[in-house]
């Protein structure tokens, strides 16, 4: 079982990103589920969504409390309590930001993890460049594929094209490819270092 928790703000595509990840995993023959946390969602409010991927049927429908990976869509959430709750020392984390961990005030925090499993990717900037809107979901999923290999880039791209069409699909696909390349290169640099 591979559990992913997404944190972001209402309107940012937090729920859609989790659904796309589940669809991508499902298309590769995995069992997958995705669902949001329901509270008082509105534009701009902190929102969580979850995705589980497994080789066998998934019976639980609980929120993911001990994620194998975290995807943080909005870095302004970083200093809220509970954001990192349950992430194991072997876990993965992808943060959407143009800043590094030190600048984000997480320098000490990331020391407790595998350094090549926690990365920052400028997903909103990539989306702004390729899609024309700062919607980070597609880019983060591309980056996630390069970070964890829980799904392939091709499956992510297929899920994007299944869900969207026209310019939105095209822009998200380009952003996802760019984020995939970014994360792959960052990881290679970290492994060499």
């Amino acid at each position: 079982m591979f559990g992913v928790r997404f944190h972001g703000r209402g309107g940012q595509g937090v729920v859609t990103a989790a659904e796309l990840l589940a669809a991508a995993a499902f298309s590769e023959g995995k069992h997958a589920q995705a669902f949001p946390s329901f509270g008082s969602e509105r534009m701009g409010a902190p929102v969580m969504s979850f995705c589980r991927i497994d080789d066998k049927p998934i019976r639980t429908h609980e929120p993911v409390s001990e994620p194998d990976a975290l995807i943080i869509q909005d870095p302004t959430l970083l200093h809220q309590a509970e954001l990192f709750a349950g992430l194991s020392p072997a876990g993965y984390m992808l943060i959407n930001s143009t800043h590094g961990f030190e600048e984000l005030g997480l320098g000490e925090f990331v020391g407790g993890f595998h350094l090549d499993r926690l990365l920052v990717v400028p997903a909103s900037s990539l989306a702004q460049t390729h899609l024309g809107r700062p919607m980070p979901g597609g880019a983060l999923l591309g980056g996630f594929a390069a970070l964890t290999w829980a799904v392939s880039l091709d499956a992510v791209l297929a899920a994007i094209n299944d869900r969207f069409s026209g310019e939105v699909a095209e822009g998200n696909e380009k952003a996802a490819r760019a984020a995939f390349a970014f994360v792959r290169d960052e990881r290679e640099a970290l492994t060499r270092a």
Partner: protein, 74 residues
């Protein structure tokens, strides 16, 4: 080929397969997506039904009873 879809979408497709003549709905969380999908199917002409947006669950039930009294599947 198997396909994974949202639960609400699956409900909407199941409703469509039951060939309703009348769909009366009061869309509100958590069933908004079901009604949205059905509305889109009717608008595209994929589903030949009368689509009525009503003002409460009670009104939806009233329309369903009225429609079935007239012999329609609602």
């Amino acid at each position: 080929m198997l396909k994974q879809i949202e639960g609400s979408r699956a409900v909407a497709e199941a409703v469509a397969m039951s060939r309703p003549d009348v769909i009366c709905a009061y869309p509100i969380t958590p069933q908004t997506h079901i009604v949205e999908a059905l509305g889109a199917m009717v608008k595209k002409g994929e589903l030949n039904a009368e689509f009525l947006n009503v003002e409460s669950e009670f009104a939806a039930m009233s329309v369903a009873i009225g429609a079935s009294a007239a012999g329609a599947r609602a």
